[in-house]
């Protein structure tokens, strides 16, 4: 029932996101009217990257993103987290997936349709193994993002407000929709190792296009593991710091 209360607002956000996908599609079309590739990425390859990014971004925003990034800091601030702590469920699980509106999943269909369109147009050797790896890497991307979002949300145990940081993160995240190997020097190192945004769309797309080495794939899984481990340890530390204000 709680989801119902938020529906109209959230539904419009989804509409906004779909409109953005449409408009950014025009953006890439506009760019490719003038050039035939970005780095070594052709038009449809860039679109695949773009569709992949939006699928991950979408799945994140209908599941844990708003719960952790917006709802959790509020619960901490008001002390309402108490009532969640006494529930007979894993706390982190409950907090991450408290509000999921399955109606939102309907608006997921256009993104999938877009991906299907791109895949039909792309000329590449399809294989089931690569498709399976693609799906696994999408899950991997979501877990990686979960780790980062959790770290940012956990900061609010100390600051009671991590809105500014969440905003920076949202902005940085958008970089993931571009092919990151076109960057050179420091930026490239940052996006591969320190803030590995390549995990979100580039690595899954590359595996589908069969241009990814097994080593990079293993790297993707292990770095997610590291991020998750750090995030969960940090979360436990934050929880010990919970002051249960106003109760």
């Amino acid at each position: 029932m709680r989801q119902m209360a938020y529906r109209p607002q959230f539904f419009m956000m989804i509409v906004g996101k779909i409109v953005r996908i449409g408009l950014l599609f025009f953006f890439f079309q506009a760019v490719f009217l003038k050039v035939d590739r970005i780095g070594h990425w052709t038009y449809y390859e860039v679109l695949l990257l773009f569709a992949t990014f939006h699928i991950v971004d979408y799945l994140m925003s209908v599941t844990f993103h708003r719960n952790l990034a917006f709802h959790l800091p509020q619960l901490i601030q008001t002390g309402e987290l108490d009532t969640r702590m006494i529930m007979p469920l894993n706390l982190l699980f409950l907090l991450s997936f408290e509000m999921i509106d399955f109606i939102d999943l309907l608006s997921f269909l256009p993104s999938l349709g877009f991906l299907a369109y791109v895949l039909c147009r792309l000329q590449f050797a399809f294989s089931w193994i690569h498709a399976l790896a693609y799906v696994l890497l999408l899950v991997n991307a979501l877990l990686f993002l979960f780790g980062i979002v959790l770290i940012i949300a956990t900061i609010s145990f100390w600051t009671t407000q991590s809105f500014g940081l969440a905003r920076i993160f949202d902005n940085l995240l958008k970089i993931g929709r571009y092919p990151l190997d076109i960057f050179e020097g420091v930026l490239r190192t940052v996006f591969v190792y320190f803030l590995p945004l390549v995990l979100i769309a580039q690595i899954p797309s590359q595996v589908l296009l069969a241009t990814l080495s097994l080593k990079s794939m293993l790297y993707a899984f292990s770095i997610t593991g590291v991020f998750l481990f750090v995030a969960i340890s940090f979360w436990k530390m934050g929880l010990k710091n919970y002051l249960s204000a106003s109760t």
Binding site: V19, R20, L23, Q29, K34, I182
Partner: protein, 288 residues
């Protein structure tokens, strides 16, 4: 300014001195600056994230120019493009997207509008001045932050094409700031009927960014889309000011374009007045 149905704008008296509307609005303007300084950290992060996003877009375009091999893409040289993107980023982040008039919506929803209605200043005037104040504040500080970026890309950033164009550019930016306020304000006023206007404003912002030319000059789009986009008010927000700055529009054509922006402003003022008048009758002062 919109008429306030219940109150005539009578000058208030403090210590025997009458306070003119200009002084009142100036106070509101100043208050926003003071408020903004309270949340310095968030504010600093906001500037930082704006700068990061435009840096990325510039790097993306540098890569596109590198792989294109030719010096000119869509009539823009690499320097013009970098200047366009940085200018557009500056306008977009600090004038257009930081103030989306959430206050109007919020005060209608939680009923704080009631207390505003009994103040000797029109709520609409307060919102307008707060919006302008916050835009001016963010823009000036954003500009300071951007100085580093301009320095970093000093080999690419072009000066305005002439002093005359620069003045027209400033004028077009002021018109853009007012136009943006009116566009979002009318959506915020929908809070009289809807429980939340956040989603609508978000959608509008997305459209504004793309159609307004924040990520790419409008002339890059296929012709049919360009024709549609130019019929909308959005290109006057970013595309027009940046074209004036770069001198990519003949000086004789500028007044006509600015006039069109003015017509949009007038039209939106009328729409705002109508929405406000209808809405205030519908207002139930929830939560009070």
């Amino acid at each position: 300014m919109l008429p306030n149905r219940n109150l005539k704008a009578t000058p208030a008296h403090v210590d025997g001195m009458s306070i003119t509307p200009i002084v009142k609005f100036w106070c509101v303007f100043k208050l926003v600056w003071i408020e903004r300084m309270v949340y310095r950290l968030n504010f600093f992060l906001e500037i930082l994230s704006g700068i990061i996003s435009s840096l990325i877009v510039v790097f993306l375009w540098l890569a596109i120019y590198r792989s294109a091999g030719s010096g000119l893409i869509g009539g823009y040289s690499v320097k013009e493009m970098v200047t366009y993107l940085l200018g557009a980023g500056l306008i977009n982040t600090f004038i257009l997207t930081t103030a989306e008039n959430p206050e109007t919506s919020q005060s209608i929803q939680d009923g704080t509008l009631s207390t505003m209605l009994i103040k000797p200043i029109s709520p609409y005037g307060i919102w307008f001045m707060r919006d302008l104040g916050s835009k001016a504040f963010l823009f000036l500080l954003g500009l300071l932050g951007y100085m580093c970026v301009f320095f970093f890309f000093r080999d690419y950033v072009l000066p305005p094409s002439s002093p005359g164009y620069f003045l027209l550019f400033l004028l077009s930016m002021i018109l853009a700031a007012i136009l943006q306020f009116l566009l979002f304000e009318v959506l915020s006023l929908l809070a009289f009927w809807l429980e939340n206007t956040f989603g609508i404003r978000f959608t509008m912002r997305v459209i504004m960014e793309v159609v307004g030319g924040a990520i790419i000059p409008v002339s890059f789009f296929p012709e049919i889309l360009q024709d549609i986009f130019m019929l909308l008010p959005f290109p006057y927000l970013i595309y027009l000011p940046m074209r004036i700055y770069l001198g990519k529009i003949s000086i004789g054509q500028v007044p006509l374009e600015l006039l069109t922006a003015g017509v949009w402003i007038m039209g939106l003022v009328i729409l705002n007045v109508m929405t406000w008048k209808k809405g205030i009758r519908h207002y139930v002062a929830m939560g009070d």
